[in-house]
């Protein structure tokens, strides 16, 4: 989690230095949700992270270097310069990189989970999405299909009260969490800024999914502490609201918790700082991709290689 934030902070500063092309999006303040939920998956459970979920990639084992190199559009970044900011995912780690169109990845997660159910595998699929994305027709179709087919899927709603500049009150009348039941989907509310609460809820959802009890929607209440992207100062968010949430910073909470367990948090911080510094140097030293490479790989020429099993160093608690 500390690493997640550190990567994004570094990304943002590189962006502000003009080193990162295009635009830049981060998930400041929402780290606990992505990290907590992804931690609860087994290595064979694919995950579809969204725009605020850098932590999901980190938990699956995507390195700081390859993420920063990705931001920078370098040849050895995750997407080899093909895509930018948070649009990436290491297929070999069971991570499906998001498309921008919200929330298209939900149907993809439903399809993966469906396949697991049909093949009788003990796996589930997880998709994140924001509160604003619940207004899109695809959300409804995916929820409906998931409930009908009782697929082993976990939907994590990152409820930060805003879709870009638009507050929830202009997105829906009734909270999406309440809608879950209407699809035959279990709904659970969690504090999205508490990594362990998110973890516990996800673990329980995973158990339900693997037991054949169908999908769960976990509504994680949280707050986007930055603008939608680096270009957005979020002046539409009342200052008091930000202050309220600043006092509930997920990282600080986890640090306190770790401290009380006797963990040397400062040492972790130090190691993260080092890791990021090294990663930044490595990433900056990487070359830009070869122009001609842009034309390669529109089609798969060989055998279709399915999603990898997620050789994540940390995830898989639930599978343990």
């Amino acid at each position: 989690m500390a690493l997640t934030r550190a990567i994004e902070e570094r990304g943002l500063s590189l962006y502000k230095q003009g080193k990162i092309p295009g635009s830049f999006y981060d998930g400041r303040g929402q780290e606990a949700t992505a990290v907590g939920a992804t931690f609860a998956l087994g290595p064979a459970d694919p995950v579809c992270p969204l725009i605020r979920d850098l932590g999901a990639h980190v938990v699956r084992g995507t390195t700081a270097t390859s993420i920063l190199a990705h931001y920078l559009g370098r040849a050895d970044g995750v997407s080899r310069g093909r895509d930018g900011n948070i649009h990436f995912g290491e297929a070999q780690r069971g991570v499906v990189g998001m498309v921008s169109m919200l929330p298209d990845m939900m149907a993809v997660a439903v399809g993966m989970a469906w396949a697991f159910r049909l093949r009788g595998e003990q796996r589930c699929a997880l998709s994140f999405f924001g509160d604003g994305a619940t207004s899109v027709g695809d959300w409804h179709e995916a929820m409906n299909l998931a409930g009908l087919q009782r697929v082993p899927a976990i939907f994590v709603l990152e409820h930060n009260g805003y879709a870009y500049s638009t507050p929830s009150a202009r997105q829906f009348v009734v909270d999406p969490l309440e809608r879950a039941a209407l699809y035959g989907i279990a709904g659970v509310a969690v504090d999205g800024n508490d990594a362990e609460e998110v973890f516990d809820a996800t673990r329980a959802a995973r158990e339900r999914a693997l037991a054949g009890d169908g999908p769960t929607l976990i509504a994680a209440t949280t707050m986007r502490m930055h603008g939608h992207g680096a270009h957005d100062d979020a002046s539409y968010v009342p200052r008091e609201q930000l202050e309220h949430w600043a006092a509930r910073d997920p990282l600080e909470r986890q640090r306190d918790r770790l401290r009380s367990l006797g963990v040397d948090v400062e040492a972790i911080d130090e190691s993260v700082r080092e890791e990021i510094d090294v990663a930044t140097q490595e990433a900056l030293a990487m070359p830009a991709p070869e122009p001609a490479s842009a034309l390669e790989g529109v089609f798969c020429e060989g055998e279709a290689e399915p999603l990898g099993l997620g050789a994540a160093p940390w995830s898989g608690f639930a599978g343990a």
Binding site: G89, V99, D104, A109, F116, L118, E141, V298
Partner: protein, 320 residues
């Protein structure tokens, strides 16, 4: 064995379901009912409800779900009840399926079957030919068989292909066309085929228009008219097209789709650029004008390219 175009498609699905346990059919009313056109009749009975699956009316989720299943190793074949409804699943096709391999190196071997085309008073919403939309969306293959033999062989090739494939099956050929079809498994290559020899003029067509072109060519006794059946629109067999132009010097290109930006526009532009020196006359196109497809037979006949219109276009060009 001699089969109708429709039965050849059914047979391909049966062979695929038998030989590859990863194959899965998804669609509306395709199960016990056998689909709006009975293409899947009997398949659910033979292969079970877990392999021939009735879905709710949810084109986005069907296609997105198929992508999800595909990236974890399945080979889903989706049926749109009519090709027209693919507009409702458009986003998942162009933005998720089409870009997946290029972006993430992740293959999405899905097939989307589109019962397409007019000629039987289907009206504006049951007669469309949407192939050009997908030709203009990188990463999707687009096939359009004209014979029973190719319908089976191309569908089996599509299912075996590691890429998303749009499979246009022409409704008006379903029961009108029959032909020799090999038993069991075979694949038709994704390239064009000369279906009638000739060297004074070549008519380039695909799908149902191949038959109109053959009828037109048969009426022209005063010259030798070749007919080239494209069969695959993506990949487009540019070599075969240019060779035919080289041999014949005169070319008529036929689309059943609406004129502007149709497949035929692409073929014409290819010829105008790379076959220019071989040309002895304008590159003539015959297509449906830019109107919706009308219901009343008198109107529909007036807009869809007929053998007569093609014949007249050939005659005029031959006289050039």
């Amino acid at each position: 064995m001699e089969l109708t175009y429709l039965d050849a498609i059914s047979d391909a699905l049966r062979v695929a379901l038998r030989e590859d346990e990863r194959v899965l059919l998804l669609g509306e009313d395709i199960g016990a009912f056998g689909g709006a056109f009975k293409v899947t009749a009997g398949l659910q009975q033979e292969f079970g409800v877990d392999r021939v699956i009735d879905t709710p009316i949810s084109e986005e989720a069907i296609i997105g779900g198929a992508v999800g299943a595909a990236i974890v190793g399945m080979r889903p074949v989706c049926e749109m009840q009519f090709a027209d409804f693919v507009a409702c699943g458009f986003d998942q096709l162009v933005n998720v399926a089409g870009k997946l391999h290029w972006r993430l190196g992740l293959a999405a071997p899905i097939v989307v079957r589109l019962p397409s085309g007019g000629g039987f008073a289907g009206g504006p919403f049951h007669s469309q030919n949407p192939e050009a939309w997908f030709m203009h969306a990188p990463g999707l293959k687009v096939l359009a068989p004209s014979s029973a033999h190719d319908a089976k062989g191309l569908l089996l090739a599509a299912i075996a292909d590691p890429n998303p494939v749009i499979f246009l099956e022409h409704k008006h050929l379903y029961r009108r066309i029959r032909g020799e079809v090999p038993e069991g498994f075979y694949q038709t290559p994704l390239c064009a085929q000369t279906v009638r020899d000739g060297d004074d003029l070549v008519v380039i067509a695909y799908g149902a228009m191949v038959h109109a072109a053959l009828d037109a060519a048969a009426e022209i006794e005063e010259a030798s008219v070749r007919v080239l059946d494209l069969r695959s629109l993506v990949p487009l067999d540019e070599r075969a097209i240019l060779d035919a132009v080289h041999d014949c010097a005169k070319v008529v290109i036929v689309d059943e789709a609406n004129y502007t930006c149709a497949a035929g526009a692409q073929v014409a532009s290819l010829i105008a650029q790379y076959g220019y020196e071989d040309l002895d006359g304008p590159v003539v196109r015959v297509a449906t004008p830019d109107v919706p497809i009308p219901f009343a037979p008198s109107l529909e006949r007036a807009v869809l390219p007929s053998a007569e219109r093609i014949r007249d276009a050939c005659r005029e060009l031959l006289a050039y």
